[in-house]
């Protein structure tokens, strides 16, 4: 049978490979002896024992073959002898490569630490991802997120006005909570000492963490600012292997910091954001250490050690354990500071084993959370992590990474673990003993997850009508109770048809929508609501226990939902998010408000 000719994409990949080669990469390619020692270091292998294709060296061999066929003596002369005969030739082969490079590896780098030859398999896999991305072969989620990061400057497509509105909203809440006029979130303050860069997930799904960080900065008397641009510390270039995107993302932050004249960039708790901004983007962008950069964990720890803030660990009495983000621990040596901080702000810290650079991946890394097509495989591979967590007996899993938060939440739900995920900023804010400042106002209580000092003037959802759509009775009862407590009038529907009927008749101010329901499901109902005159402008907040449907709902040919939350839903977050959606909606409809 005749061998098919190489496609244009394959030739492009071969050309691109040439540009990616350096001494270290070539060493990792030629150094592998196929000893199989990496085998049991991988969480995919441990959870898929019958699938030999999960072996890390097999994944790296995909790049190795391409290299040997084009650059190595033996591979060019006798390709079959060194396995270089099975190189990709057709575009179908590239689809299989995509599945291997994106779907069976989170680039966690655990195998790298277990290779006797010092082969950096994770880096080879990232290069393969980069070659595929170069020719447009990548999971849809990676494509969408990368596009948003290229075009909008952040990976979640947050519009500038929404970002600034969220900061303003959090700033107002903080000021109200504390009763102190200076307790605000400064934006673009020139000459500030610190520029605080965050993960867009905080804006979109968990703005409370922004308020908590602002509270801590205020308590420490910090001269800080958030930038109006270059605020996204995340970097999908790390996941897609696109060094161009990686350098651009980093450069945006560095340029903004330079423009504001700050001394330091502080990166909120995001594992890949820290690694990208602090360690990798300087290389991709060709900037040699443009600024001192540190994680907010280091900043908070410094505040406590320097006596700038006081904490009371008894406020965090439950047993906690710590999950090391792979990017932090293995690629940035950042693992002692969070533990030191945890011991200062909690009462019962239980170590997880193995830990630090030997910790297992949360399974949400490497961009896995954006690749819904691989969700079942990812959740299966999460069994290792679930067992690790269960063994600690902790009620709270703490991590310094937003990807890990999502990954861990997914596996906790999937494996029905009795614990929840928090970040250090949550715990520090909760333990914070507020200083007395000369503001004329009474000292405020600590605004944290448990006790958020809400404005006493009105309930946040007073006067609003909200339609709760969910097929599970207990979920509807719970949501109804929470929303009614917040002042809303609540309507209910148990499936898509009922939701459309009630929405059409009642014209609620907002709809919370479950996606997985018998009969007409949430996705269909959402599309119909968006298309029907009279309901098309009703804001929708998706509340689902199936994060893999996220892509489905955002891919509909209608305007995306205004909000999105994963089950289980936190009461405070629910009210805050719905309040924010309604608030933004009002501003868009009545811009002068």
């Amino acid at each position: 049978m005749a061998t098919p000719a190489k496609t244009h994409k394959i030739r492009m990949m071969e050309q691109q490979l040439q540009k990616k080669l350096n001494r270290q990469v070539v060493g990792s390619i030629v150094g592998c002896v196929h000893c199989g020692m990496c085998h049991t270091s991988c969480h995919y292998v441990l959870t898929h024992p019958d699938d030999p294709k999960m072996t890390p060296s097999y994944k790296a061999d995909q790049l190795r073959k391409l290299f040997k066929r084009n650059h190595d003596w033996t591979g060019r002369a006798f390709p079959w002898w060194v396995g270089a005969d099975k190189v990709p030739l057709t575009d179908d082969d590239l689809t299989k490569l995509q599945d291997i490079a994106f779907g069976t590896c989170t680039n966690c780098r655990r195998c790298t630490f277990n290779c006797p030859m010092g082969v950096d398999t994770a880096t080879l896999n990232r290069i393969m991802r980069g070659l595929l991305t170069h020719v447009g072969v990548m999971p849809e989620g990676v494509r969408v997120v990368s596009k948003d990061q290229w075009e909008l400057g952040n990976q979640m497509g947050v519009l500038r006005e929404d970002y600034l509105d969220t900061l303003e909203w959090m700033s107002e809440e903080l000021e109200e909570d504390l009763g102190h006029a200076e307790a605000t979130i400064p934006v673009d303050r020139e000459g500030a000492r610190i520029m605080y860069a965050i993960n867009p997930r905080e804006v979109k799904y968990d703005p409370r963490t922004i308020k908590e960080a602002a509270l801590i900065f205020w308590a420490a008397g910090e001269n800080w600012t958030m930038p109006s641009e270059g605020w996204d510390n995340t970097n999908f270039g790390l996941f897609s292997g696109d060094d161009g995107l990686g350098g651009t993302c980093g450069q945006r932050e560095y340029d903004k910091a330079r423009q504001l004249g700050v001394e330091k960039i502080v990166i909120s708790e995001c594992g890949h954001g820290y690694r990208s901004t602090r360690c990798e983007a300087v290389n991709w962008a060709g900037e040699a250490q443009p600024f001192p950069m540190e994680s907010s964990v280091m900043t908070m720890l410094g505040y406590i050690k320097d006596g700038r803030i006081t904490v009371d660990p008894t406020r965090n009495a439950e047993r906690v354990t710590f999950h090391d983000s792979c990017n932090n621990a293995r690629s940035c040596g950042f693992f002692e500071e969070p533990r030191e901080l945890l011991r200062l702000v909690t009462m019962d810290f239980q170590e997880m084993y193995p830990n630090r650079a030997e910790n297992y991946c949360c399974t949400g890394g490497g961009g896995a959370m954006s690749m819904s097509e691989y969700t079942p495989r990812r959740l299966k591979s999460a069994k290792v992590k679930a067992d690790q967590i269960a063994a600690t007996g902790a009620k709270i899993v703490v991590t310094s990474c937003h990807n890990c938060v999502d990954g861990l939440n997914d596996l906790i739900k999937h494996y029905k673990l009795d614990c929840k995920v928090m970040q250090l900023v949550d715990l520090v804010a909760n333990a914070l003993v507020l200083p007395t400042r000369e503001s004329g106002a009474e000292p405020a209580t600590v605004p944290g997850e448990v006790e958020i000092a809400r404005p006493a003037v009105a309930l946040p959802l007073a006067g609003r009508t909200i339609l709760v759509v969910d097929d599970e009775d207990d979920v509807r009862v719970f949501l109804k109770a929470v929303l009614e407590d917040a002042g809303a009038r609540v309507l209910e529907a148990a499936d898509g048809d009922e939701a459309i009927a009630v929405a059409t008749a009642e014209k609620p101010d907002l709809i919370t929508l479950d996606l997985s329901m018998p009969g007409k499901d949430g996705v269909e109902a959402f599309t119909e609501l968006r298309r029907a005159p009279g309901t098309e402008e009703i804001p929708v907040c998706v509340i689902t226990g199936h994060p893999e449907f996220r892509t489905v709902i955002y891919d509909r040919p209608v305007a995306p939902p205004e909000g999105y939350m994963s089950k289980p839903v936190d009461e405070d977050q629910l009210v805050e998010n719905l309040h924010r959606i309604l608030d933004l909606e009002a501003k868009h409809v009545h811009p002068t408000n």
Binding site: L21, Q24, G27, S28, V282, R356
Partner: protein, 231 residues
């Protein structure tokens, strides 16, 4: 008492030395080729300078060959580590036997040296057999193995066996008397030396560099030497 080598043995010795020269030449070319690629550079600031640095990382990384506790993969499978040590000591013994048989034939006839070399070669042969069985029976090993992987392992395993028999012959074991063993061993070694630079066995040429580079990189990033807190 020393005898003049037969013409067969003398020819084998010459071929063996020529093979060594070829190997050195090809290895040199290999290294020139490797270093023709630009060196990667990390512009980031040292990640944990209070604890480690690139130099410490490199030293730790290079030393991991004698620190089985430094990697989970060797720490949790001590038998594999022991087999690794025996296999590579066998290679050292085999190469030493080949050269000392020409340069210091008296030495390899002494009982103590003969026992050491013979034991190491025999142990390495057993390890080679076990490794071949592992490579043939484990699905993940079959998947990643190339013809070169099988051939290199088979070549070494046969070489270990022949080396064991040759050492016994040199040491005076009557059942293996005659120069034919040594001549065959030298010819196989010659083939081995010529083949190695084109095969995966050349990994030992790259080994110091790959370990140095990964150690330097991860030392700079603060994650090597490994910090372990055990339960």
């Amino acid at each position: 008492m020393q005898h003049e080598p037969s013409s067969l043995l003398a020819t084998a010795e010459v071929i063996h030395w020529i093979a060594l020269a070829v190997m050195v030449a090809v290895y040199t070319t290999r290294l020139v080729w490797l270093f023709s690629f630009k060196g990667g550079k990390d512009r980031s600031a040292p990640a944990a300078p209070e604890r480690t640095n690139a130099h410490k990382g490199a030293v730790y990384s290079l030393g991991n060959v004698v620190m089985p506790w430094s990697m989970e993969s060797t720490r949790t499978d001590p038998l594999f580590y022991v087999s690794f040590v025996l296999f590579h000591l066998g290679v050292t013994a085999g190469i030493s036997l080949a050269f000392l048989s020409s340069l210091a034939p008296g030495l390899v006839r002494t009982q103590s040296v003969a026992w050491i070399f013979g034991t190491l070669l025999a142990a390495a042969f057993v390890v080679g057999m076990i490794r071949m069985a592992r490579r043939l029976t484990k699905p993940h090993m079959r998947l990643i193995s190339t013809p070169d992987d099988y051939f290199s392992l088979a070549l070494l395993t046969v070489w270990f066996l022949l080396g064991t028999l040759t050492q016994a012959s040199i040491a005076g074991y009557q059942a293996l008397a005659g120069e034919g063993w040594l001549a065959a061993y030298l010819l196989l070694t010659a083939f081995f030396l010529v083949y190695v630079p084109f095969s995966k066995i050349s990994h030992y040429l790259y080994y110091p560099f790959t370990r140095l580079w990964i150690g330097r990189a991860l030392g700079h990033r603060g994650s090597l030497p490994l910090v372990r807190v055990r339960s």
